[in-house]
Amino acid sequence: MTKIVTDVVCPFCGTLCDDLEVKVSDDGTQILEVYNACVIGTEKFLHSQAKDRLKVPQMQDEEGNWKDVSIDDAVDYTAQMLCNAKKPLMYGWSSTNCEAQSTGNEIAEIVGAVVDNTATVCHGTTLIAVQDVGVPSCTLGEVKNRADRIVFWGCNPAHAHPRHMSRYSIFPRGFFTGKGHKARKMVVVDPRSTDTAKMADVHMQIEQGRDYELLSALRVAVRGAPLPETVAGIPRETIQDVAETLKSGRFVVIFFGMGVTQTLSKNHNIDMAISLTRDLNEYTKAAIMPMRGHYNVTGSGQVLGWQFGFPFCVDLSRGFARYNPGDSSSNDLLRRGEVDAVFVLGSDPGAHFPISSVKKIAQLPSVCVDPHHTPTSAVCKLHMPVAFVGVEEAGCAYRMDNVPIETRKVVEAPEGMVSDEEFLKMVLTRVKEIKGVA
């Protein structure tokens, strides 16, 4: 007999779909099928079943040879590395639960580490903009129930957040949106003709990197002030039409992604997008929301926030929390050679950081905690494979609208494997022993 686990939360992207159903074998060890998830989400579950799954920690010697080690050795290496370092970097945290993040933060506090999450190369610019101008936002259910004007700016949910449009933003019929997508106007701003853009009522095919100009132009158009003939490659009339479309809506939402957070002007783009949203609130109701990528990058920002007061780039090395992106951010620290050990959990900087940073990681004492072989694990001295959080381990995660959901445990992890949190707890205990703190 098989059984179906319902209300399963997908631990892949910031959409954090929580309506999955997973068919598991009678003994609770095998995932047989995944229902309701998109292809990426399904893969995340099925991947945990891979036959060649890593189960044993491995260490790399000077010559680059890997050898198996025990979990105790892995714990000890990690704890020693963190305690011996003057300023270790503890990076990642976006693909794990808040409980693990919290334990990691406690370790970081004791050893005086810098804690940073993947926002540093993603929506960190958004977090900075929010510190400058705030953020009028809402939960995704408000979008579903009220929104009739949807903008996707520099993001491609059709590929990156596959169920976003069907669950929340374009297709669903909500309380005040009984006509579903028929009563919604969809605007996409993207230099590429993406699958999302192809669905839009209006696709503003902006010139690469000119987001700041176009956002400014929209603010001008919303106020009815004169515009030049084209801005960022978009004709004046189109800009004015879009401004009118937004103003005439009952509830406007702007979703934005890395296509605008990490292009020229960075946080200033987001400043401008938020200011546009603010302006629109003079005429109608408007909200704005970042399309957060990892399923719990938002949670890392929340936990860091209530524990230390800052959402990322938190430098604890001086004994108190310090925050200064550009200085206390991972890539700046690595490239300046300011950190002397690197601990990675719940992300893959090896695949996403500039090569100059990855080279630095390769030269330093380093630990990668990840269920898989990744480009990061390849350059780290210790690779600690762990259970899949959200599949083999429950725990809290925050959706892109900051709504926390408790992920579910669907199957047992292979025998002898520990979770992120368990591993971190062991490291914490060892760190306390080494440091002689209670």
Partner: protein, 569 residues
Amino acid sequence: MAEYLIKNGFVFDPVLGINGDKADIAVKDGKIVESTALSNPQVIDAAGKTVMAAGVDIHAHVAGPKVNVGRNFRPEDKLFNCEAGKGVRRMAGGFSVPTVFRTGYLYARMGYGTVMEAAMPPLYARHTHEEMRDTPILDQGAYPVFGNNWFVLEYLKNNEMENVEAYISWLLRTTRGYAIKIVNPGGTEAWGWGLNCNSIHDPVPYFDITPAQIMKGLMDANEALRLPHSIHIHTNNLGNPGNFETTLETFKLFEGAKPNNDFGRKQVMHHTHVQFHSYGGDSWANVESKADEIMNYVNSHDNMTMDLGCVTLDETTTMTADGPFEHHLTELNHLKWANTDVELETAAGVVPYVYSPNIKVCGIQWAIGLELALMAKDPMRVFITTDHPNAGPFFRYPRVMKWLMSQKAREAQMDSLKWAEKVRGATFLSGLDRELTLYEIAAMTRAGTAQALGLADMYGSLKPGLQGDVAVYDYNPETAEDPELIEKAFSNAAYLLKGGEVVVKDGEIVSNGNKKTLWVDAKVNDNPQVRRDITEKFLRYYTVTEANYEVNEKVFMKNPYRIEVDATQ
């Protein structure tokens, strides 16, 4: 567990009627006991010191999504106030929105043991509980917001009281909530369309019900459920000149209503941060205090309680589920604005604010907060708060106490205002020579709040049998002359015993205690219709499934403490 004998202090306990007499307080097994019950106590010498039950805060925003927005979007709030961890203390920082650790430590250092989070959006209950779980020392509970909830609006519109009650019972249990909070009833739902309800008779768009009906209906439900706390109201029209009339109209809705509960609670309605609701005039140019009219009403109606919301003249971070108000505020001060509308339930906004002594209106607001307390006839019904962090940070309570206990201190503050004469002209403060006593302060900060929360059998007094929460302050009421001593002593408790354990010693945190999280489980008769409606709404309008909504006690709460109520008759 250790036994303690707190010897020879000046004890202030309005519940026991002890007004500064020298007495010994005994604590054993986590509880207050008769001193004869001790066998081998550790003695704490409290000679020349003030002894009270630990403080109980009825209204502060200390945990949850909007609080964390306040932290994360204001790095500047952490300037010059970050502390390194030491001993049992974690790193801490933040001024108007401290980190959870600092929140716990600062309250404990003020001799407080219990703090209620004043507004929990149900969909974010998990977040609120995660923060409370990480907040050391303090016993806490959180009030879920109900005043703009679609279930409530629909049931009340159809006059289906049993359904309202069943829904409330379900939501309190599902979110592990403590009481019924109402914030800008109807107005926050209207804010979903960028609108507001400015009076208690403005109909809510689409739902076709008025704020008055919402508040009255929820009060009836609260009494039918016999909950420990009453409804907890922040009424419409907050912060606007002339709004005292809305406030009085709100008060009057409850005339003649009687409390119904087994918890010793005597009010049917608690109105919060009344300072923000006591303005006369019709513009910021002629705004004036109406504290007299408000307090005349409160003094002559004993079925209500209130707290002050004292402005402390600091730079702070405002945050409230009154979404339209925060938008209004950002239009006023042009500082950064965060807002979150929460599906089917509520909204919240956050805006930094500077209560400058150089601004006339701020001076008037400062005066009104104090006037309300000084005009109060029954300190067991009027409580000290700053609506933290809205009118100022909670760690200014000792400063508020100083102003309330010393006319000299408040006159000195008045003189330092840039528009002192104008403030005097628009308020009553300079004409009030009352100086509150420590006995009254004890009522306004612990005995009264514990009673209003329905927690008088746990907190607020030194009566044997109550929880061993005792604060000792280095303040000698017989000899202390300088009002500054009040602020100093009450900011740095000599001792705090929490649940019978020493948590603060000489102003330093020595233990993280063993906090409890309080919640109310009100049993009602099975109600299939409400069950069906909940399932339906989750299927169609919520974005999380019904099964993923409930807060898992084991994971998200530290020492959950369930208070059971049986309303099945």
